[in-house]
């Protein structure tokens, strides 16, 4: 299973005075089981890029292959693609429309034309995955907190049982607790259900903790693509793109300058702690 993008160009409002070149010759391959962090400054084209992956927008030029099949080729089922590649938009809670939570989560699988029992089974399973038990089923979305609403909306996509889950800034506007809950659930989906994850974010700290591969976008182009350690070595360049490496990267570089013999590749707080302790013990 893979999604392959070849030279994706997308231009908004092409025949006006202000065409916006949102993605610029983006070529990428997304493999099975990856946990990808897609980062970039606001307006760098992240949201535009991910909408290509399930055929919601058609590139101005370029090709998209899902399992080596051209998604705009003859006989390709867009419906199937959308069920395999689940896309959770930014502020997904704004799309809730049913009067109770269970019915709303049923919307996706129902559209796939599944039998009623299967629809309900999937919906309940998806709600369990995001940590919402039976007591929530009958509630109206309006009775929930912001973080809970968002989890319901994510369940709405999970209920289609996608193989790839794309989340566009899933933590935007949440408090630290809500943010951690969502990120930990995403991590669980990746580890326990072997789902391929693409997490869009502009917070390095968030993605550094979970992603095994980082893709950095700037002005519609892919600037870096590699493991977090590799990407954060370019922390000076990241700054010129309006991004910042995780705080610990700066700490490690500062320590190094003071003559500490630390390994600069630590990217999370716990890695940094280990590394500093190691150096202290050696002294």
């Amino acid at each position: 299973m893979s999604i392959r993008l070849e030279k994706i160009d997308y231009i908004y409002e092409p025949d006006t005075a202000f065409p916006v070149h949102a993605t610029d010759h983006v070529s990428l391959t997304i493999h099975d089981g990856e946990f990808i962090g897609l980062i970039g400054h606001t307006g760098s084209g992240k949201s535009t890029l991910i909408q290509h992956l399930n055929g919601l927008i058609r590139p101005t030029s370029g090709k998209i292959y899902y399992n080596d099949k051209d998604i705009y080729g003859d006989g390709f089922s867009m419906k199937e693609l959308r069920s395999k590649v689940g896309l959770v938009f930014q502020y997904p809670e704004h799309q809730l429309f049913e009067s109770d939570i269970l019915s709303d989560v049923c919307f996706g699988p129902k559209n796939l034309g599944l039998p009623k029992e299967e629809v309900e089974r999937r919906a309940k399973h998806a709600l369990a995955l995001v940590g919402m038990d039976e007591s929530f089923y009958g509630l109206s979305p309006f009775e929930l907190s912001g973080g809970q609403k968002r989890r319901v909306a994510i369940a709405g996509v999970l209920a289609m049982e996608p193989e790839v889950l794309i989340l566009d800034e899933p933590t935007a506007g949440l408090d630290p607790k809500g943010r951690d809950e969502i990120l930990n659930q995403v991590k669980k989906l990746h580890e326990e259900n072997q789902m391929t994850i693409i997490l869009v974010s502009h917070s390095m700290e968030d993605v550094a903790r979970f992603a095994s591969r980082l893709i950095v976008m700037d002005h519609g182009k892919v600037q870096f693509d590699g493991t977090p350690t590799e990407v954060f070595r370019h922390y000076k360049e990241l700054e010129t793109m309006g991004l910042a490496a995780p705080q610990v990267t700066y700490l490690m570089h500062a320590l190094k300058e003071k003559g500490w013999d630390v390994n600069l590749d630590a990217i999370t707080v716990s890695q940094a702690k280990e590394e500093i302790l190691r150096v202290i013990k050696k002294k």
Binding site: A17, P92, M160
Partner: protein
């Protein structure tokens, strides 16, 4: 698609038309509309075309931008053209099949009608494209200020209008987003019969209404937080004042209107 509705969208670019006083543009639009209804005969339409073309040129707004806005009235246009072709019997009969009669007069009338409608839409679109919603409210409020004497809440009406105009593009964008989000969940807005299509709109309309209410209440809150209390005793940071260009514009507009009236009287 729905993004093609250009009415109510401001096209931010500097041009002499953009810099005109909003009252001039409002009056200009009104005069242009009146002139269109006065227009009679080929010459009148040629002059109206030149006039509109010149204004569009000076405004620097690309023509394609306005033509896109016309797509939304295609049905109305077709309807009125067909109506005119079949029901006006005037002049030489060109085609006669059964009860259908097409006359030369009917065809000409239909063509004039279509041109008139198209120009009407382009003319009013041009005004909103070149005037910020804020200017538009100011202009409306000041032009209609005399109605305050008969207790018409002019300020409130102007404010509501400008907010409504401003909300059109926002809601269009929102519709686009919600549609995509539901399509990602397998929703299908295109196929099916009329009833199925209407049912498919529910997942779009409910979130859209909720979002409109949320935005409205946010806006109300933001206005109150800045002590907005309606029009009484409110002064302007930039009071509207006519400039030299406005006088020239009024001159041209009057000349245009008089010309159209004369052509009608002569023709």
């Amino acid at each position: 698609m729905i993004r093609d509705i250009t009415l109510g969208q401001y096209y931010p670019i500097g041009s002499p038309i953009h810099r005109l006083d909003p009252r001039t543009k409002l009056a200009g639009t009104l005069i242009f509309i009146i002139a269109l209804f006065v227009a009679k005969g080929l010459w009148a339409y040629i002059i109206a075309t030149i006039f509109l073309g010149a204004v569009i040129r000076v405004s620097k707004v690309p023509l394609s931008y306005m033509v896109r806005g016309l797509k939304s009235i295609v049905i109305l246009l077709l309807f009125s053209v067909v109506f005119n072709i079949f029901f006006i019997r005037d002049g030489v009969v060109l085609v006669q099949i059964g009860f259908i009669t097409i006359t030369a007069g009917g065809l000409i009338q239909a063509a004039y009608m279509a041109v008139r409608l198209i120009y009407l839409i382009i003319g009013s679109t041009l005004m909103t494209l070149t005037t910020t919603p804020n200017d538009l409210t100011d202009g409306l409020e000041k032009s209609l200020g005399f109605m305050k004497k008969i207790h018409v809440p002019v300020h409130e009406i102007a404010m509501m209008m400008s907010i409504a105009l401003r909300f059109i593009p926002i809601l269009i964008e929102e519709t686009d987003k919600i549609m995509k989000a539901q399509m990602a969940r397998g929703a299908d807005f295109e196929s099916g019969n009329l009833i199925q299509k209407a049912k498919a709109m529910v997942p779009l309309l409910v979130p859209l209404f909720i979002s409109a209410f949320r935005r409205a209440s946010d806006l109300a809150m933001a206005m109150e937080a800045r002590c907005y209390h309606g029009g009484d005793g409110r002064t302007k940071m930039k009071p509207l004042r006519y400039q030299k260009n406005d006088k020239i514009a009024y001159g041209i507009l009057l000349f245009f209107l008089v010309l159209m009236i004369l052509l009608r009287l002569v023709g």
